[in-house]
Amino acid sequence: MQSTARKDQIREFIRESLASAKGITSFSDSESLMENGVIDSLGIFRLVSFLEDTFGVRIGDEEITAENLSSVDTIENLVIKKTRK
């Protein structure tokens, strides 16, 4: 998959399914989605299910961390790392 397409999908899901429900319209790829309130404790698990279903990866509980999931950029990196395995 093209890197831009993958990133677009991630950004689109976060915008449509998480940010919009919080009334947030714009966020950058590098911005912390926890600090701006886009992702809350339930949002984390919806995001993980989306990544697993869309990219066919398996994300373990120990990988659900701020380092991996804090921004669009870090989420993309996690998916790249997982799909390479």
């Binding site: 429900a21 404790s41 984390i44 509980d61 961390t65 701020a66």
Partner: protein, 527 residues
């Protein structure tokens, strides 16, 4: 004996000056530093005109400076008001105007995010991070200014236990948050009961999971200070990630934990908890919502050595009843009691005939009396008269009691059991939510004709919120637009996760929106 909260800190600072008092974001502050910096802050506030009883707002993500600020404000004789840093600026503006906050402790970026009218209503902002905008006439005072003030003693202010200490804003039925006024005595009644009941010592490490505008924080911060223990503030980068949170508990050696049950449920489901890693955890307190029995049983099995307590109480009384989980009864229990009254507190249920409930099996609305009961709501005498009422069960002298609005039953075992709310207030993730407040936000959109918010029970978070909306012109508005419209008016935790559009809403025979029908339509039938 302490009769005002800051005495808890001063006593421990004399006894354990070099011990860490507060830890947050990898940084800690000793008791001596906390005592000195809060003295300096109190002098700064007094010199700049803050007087006894003035409200000072705290508006930044929690960090070491949060606790310095709480004590500095109290030592100036003022009242602190913690504001949710993630709340919409509209709501923050409303609270600032409602309780007349003229001084705000904040971060530069938070201050810039306020609307102009709110910013101009402030005398000054004490900014904890950057000093770029400070200077004469800007209304911005940098935190670094603290060092210019004396740290050895607090300013001289006469206070008694009946003075206000803080105001906590909670969800209100009229569509606006209401400010619960809490005195030093209100807080200390709870803190002293906790100290004696949970035997907190200077060797303990307490977590602070709840946000500071949530009354669960009162225990974490003040009971740590009371005992000379250390409180570890759990910030979002830790709290949102169960595995990270579990390793935080292990690494920091947390011994006493207090949170909403859903935080514990998420840990159980997603953190791969190992008993040996959490061996320091000796006491787990939970409050704010009903803990689903299946997860409580899992927690009890996982940590056989820990004492588990279910605490109950609205912000207006802090905790007023408690139940220590009886491990030998747990397997056969299908409902968790809220227990019995805390010391120095009386609770009783009043039935529809306005009689006190005395026999097991009977139910009624729970009332609370004692020094834990709030004076009422800031600048809202009408709401105060409705909820903080004269004690009609005893006449010789004037006394107030608080009607919780919660229906309870008295069990055979002498414990009270929570049955539900009298009105439409629900809990989600431990937050109190008035469905009416969500509905008024939805209805304020010009395209919306009818709206109802309903709660869908959920094992993990308590309730999920769904809205059903009928537009004036069907199809004229999209779910995302409506969510954004609401987001400017109500906090994120109140936003409906799902919005369903219908041409019209079902009505009851009296012409009211049929919420029972809507709820039945939305909740999958069990079995």
């Amino acid at each position: 004996m302490a009769y005002i909260l800051q005495q808890l800190l001063s006593k421990s600072a004399a006894q354990f000056p070099e011990k860490p008092a507060v830890w947050a974001r990898g940084r800690s502050i000793s008791y001596r530093e906390l005592e000195e910096q809060s003295n300096q802050l109190a002098h700064l506030l007094r010199e700049r005109g803050v007087k006894k009883g003035d409200r000072v707002g705290l508006y930044f993500p929690k960090c070491v400076e949060s606790v310095v600020s709480m004590f500095g404000i109290l030592k100036a004789g003022a009242v602190y008001v913690p504001l949710d840093p993630q709340a919409p600026v509209d709501r923050i503006g409303y609270i600032i105007a409602n309780c007349g906050i003229r001084v705000l402790i904040t971060r530069g970026e938070k201050r810039r995010g306020l609307d102009e009218r709110t910013r101009e209503s402030l005398e000054f902002c004490l900014v904890i991070d950057d000093a770029r905008e400070s200077g004469n006439g800007t209304g911005v005072v940098p935190w670094a200014m603290l060092s210019a003030y004396p740290g050895a003693h607090a300013p001289q202010v006469t206070l008694t236990e009946t003075d206000l200490a803080y105001i906590l804003y909670t969800s209100g039925s009229t569509g606006r948050p209401k400010g619960v006024m809490l005195s030093h005595q209100n807080a200390l009644t709870f803190v002293e009961w906790c100290a004696a009941t949970f035997h907190i010592t200077s060797a303990d490490r307490l977590s602070n999971h709840a946000p500071l505008h949530f009354d669960l924080s009162v225990f974490d911060v003040y009971n740590a200070m009371e005992a000379g223990a250390t409180v570890y503030l759990v910030t979002e980068e830790i709290a949102l990630f169960p595995a990270t949170l579990a390793s935080f508990i292990e690494t920091q050696g947390i011994s006493v934990w207090y949170s909403v049950p859903s935080a514990l449920t998420l840990l159980l489901l997603h953190a791969d908890l190992k008993a040996e890693k959490l061996s320091r955890l000796r006491t787990i307190l939970f409050a704010g919502e009903v803990f689903p029995m299946k997860y409580l049983k899992q927690l009890a099995d996982l940590l056989p050595g820990a004492d588990l307590y279910n605490l109950y109480g609205p912000t207006e009384t802090n905790v007023c009843t408690y139940y220590k989980v009886e491990r030998d009864r747990l397997a056969s229990m299908d409902k968790l009691p809220i227990g019995v009254a805390c010391e120095n507190t009386e609770v009783f249920a009043v039935n529809d005939q306005d009689e006190m409930v005395t026999r097991p099996g009977e139910s009624g609305e729970l009332y609370v009396r004692g020094p834990c009961v709030t004076y009422g709501y800031w600048a809202d005498p009408e709401k105060t008269r409705k909820m903080v009422v004269p004690n009609r069960f005893q006449r010789p002298f004037e006394e107030k009691m608080y009607r919780t609005g919660d229906l309870v039953s008295l069990g055979e075992d002498g414990n009270y059991y929570f049955l539900g709310r009298r009105d439409s207030m629900i809990k989600s993730r431990g937050y109190r939510i008035e469905l009416g407040e969500i509905e008024s936000a939805l209805l304020s959109h010009p395209a919306v004709r009818e709206a109802a918010a309903i709660a869908i029970p959920d094992d993990v978070v308590g309730n999920r919120i769904k809205a059903i909306v009928a537009a004036h012109q069907p199809g004229s508005i999209k779910s995302g637009d409506l969510q954004q419209h609401c987001a400017a008016k109500i906090p994120k935790y109140m936003l409906p996760e799902l919005i369903e559009f219908r041409d019209s809403l079902p009505k009851t025979s009296t012409g009211k929106i049929d919420r029972v029908q809507l709820t039945q339509d939305s909740v999958p039938v069990a079995g």
